[in-house]
């Protein structure tokens, strides 16, 4: 399943930006959207509008800023940051970054670094590392309820769960199947024989 990632590249060289963008877009297993930031003065505004998951930034991009400040100011507290390096840099300068990318990294190295960062995010969010994409029987029950047009409240009552748990399940279902809409889930449910057409309302 390909993972959606929004990446902002803050780098003043057009050659480096385009090169990195081309490599990133070619990586298998990711669906990457890129926004380019060409100068320090458009950094905060660019991030505030685009809200990327990951920022890849040349630490020597002119301008004096603090990474934590930047995250607060642009309203993306969970944004991960890669330092984009041309050559050896002061480790002190690099400490606030989650990881580094060198302009000499191979596409494989780039992919591994993205996967590593992404895996951390998923496991910290879900509290478990599940790489299986099939639905659990509980999740299948919830799909059936959603397809029948029940609200989260009604599903919670029917299955003796809290609405919060129902919402978490629904988020996991959407992530596993890459299907978000109720009509998409209906197709999934019919194709996988979780439900029959005559059980549907309307």
């Amino acid at each position: 399943m390909s993972t959606n990632i929004k990446i902002a590249i803050a780098e003043s060289s057009a050659i480096i930006r385009c090169g990195l963008e081309t490599l990133l877009k070619r990586l298998p297993g990711f669906r990457i959207q890129i926004s380019e930031i060409t100068a320090a003065d458009s950094l905060t505004e660019g991030l505030r509008i685009y809200k990327p998951d990951i920022l890849i930034m040349n630490p020597s991009i002119p301008g004096n800023f603090n990474l934590q400040h930047l995250k607060d100011e642009c309203g993306c507290p969970d944004m991960r940051c890669f330092a984009l390096l041309y050559n050896v840099s002061d480790p002190l300068l690099l400490r606030p970054y989650d990881d580094q990318i060198s302009v000499y990294d191979s596409p494989d190295e780039l992919k591994q670094k993205l996967e590593r960062l992404n895996a951390e995010e998923v496991s910290s969010e879900e509290g478990e590392s599940d790489d299986q994409q099939t639905l659990s029987s509980r999740e299948k029950e919830i799909v059936v309820c959603v397809v029948k047009g029940m609200t989260n409240r009604e599903i919670a009552d029917r299955l003796y769960l809290s609405t919060h748990t129902v919402i978490t399940h629904r988020r996991n279902i959407a992530r596993k199947l890459q299907v978000h809409s109720a009509s998409g889930l209906t197709v999934y449910a019919i194709v996988n024989k979780l439900i029959e057409l005559k059980d549907l309302n309307g």
């Binding site: 926004s35 380019e36 660019g46 998409g184 209906t186 999934y188 194709v191 057409l197």
Partner: protein
């Protein structure tokens, strides 16, 4: 994948189309037909009554895969021509592309269980309705507002920022349909279904670049226009 240097009026139209075949759609949305021989872009445009500057702005915007709002919009860009282009693109999606995919899809899934065919068709119809609503809003609300601006009249109750904030990615749901067909389609494989899948891939790309033109070229142009009529 495609060449992406800036195209100029003096480049041959046939080179543009051969190097970037999706531009055949752009050309036809500007009302230019095939069969233009050896003529260059400027000549073909003028012969068809198309503003070459607007045509080239859209072409260069798409071939350069611009992914941020355009800040230095060429003064010669004609907003009327751009609206006419967007309007033709809407007509293409609603009157040709989606009905065409629907016909092919229905034929392609005729062999699978009836209930599956039913929900897949229903999913598609729901999607088409959504696209319709999305584009109708632009036709009924956004374009008339902009045509007013062009006449120097500013509707105090509306501005282009309202549109920018509510403009959703209409291609996301067709990605869902593609995922469902690829991962869960229960019938035997067939050439027609593969062909529908190719159409869906192409339409997803086409819708996404259409939205890009609206978000990153049309909206900034209107923002600039609004500033002149404060």
């Amino acid at each position: 994948m495609y060449k992406n240097g800036k195209y100029r009026e003096t480049d041959k139209m046939s080179d543009l189309i051969c190097e970037n075949y999706p531009m055949v759609l752009v050309m036809s949305r500007f009302g230019i037909a095939l069969g233009f021989g050896e003529k260059n872009i400027g000549e073909v445009c003028r012969q068809n009554g198309v503003d070459p500057c607007t045509f080239l702005t859209v072409v260069n915007f798409l071939t350069e895969e611009v992914s941020e709002p355009v800040t230095n919009i060429d003064k010669c860009l004609s907003i009327e021509a751009l609206i006419a282009y967007l309007h033709k693109a809407h007509a293409y999606f609603l009157d040709f592309r989606l009905p065409h995919i629907r016909r092919k899809l229905t034929d392609a899934i005729a062999g699978c269980p009836k209930d599956v065919a039913f929900v897949i068709t229903k999913f598609f119809d729901d999607y088409a309705t959504e696209v319709n609503k999305h584009m109708l809003y632009e036709e009924k609300t956004v374009f008339p507002y902009v045509r007013g601006l062009l006449k120097g009249v500013r509707d105090p109750k509306y501005n282009i920022t309202i549109f920018r904030k509510h403009h959703d990615q209409i291609e996301m749901k067709i990605i869902e349909l593609k995922n469902i067909l690829i991962k869960y389609y229960p019938g035997p494989g067939n050439n027609l279904l593969n062909s529908v899948l190719f159409d869906i891939f192409a339409t997803e790309q086409d819708l996404s670049s259409h939205n890009h033109v609206e978000d990153f070229l049309f909206v900034p142009a209107i923002l600039a226009l609004e500033k002149t009529i404060q």
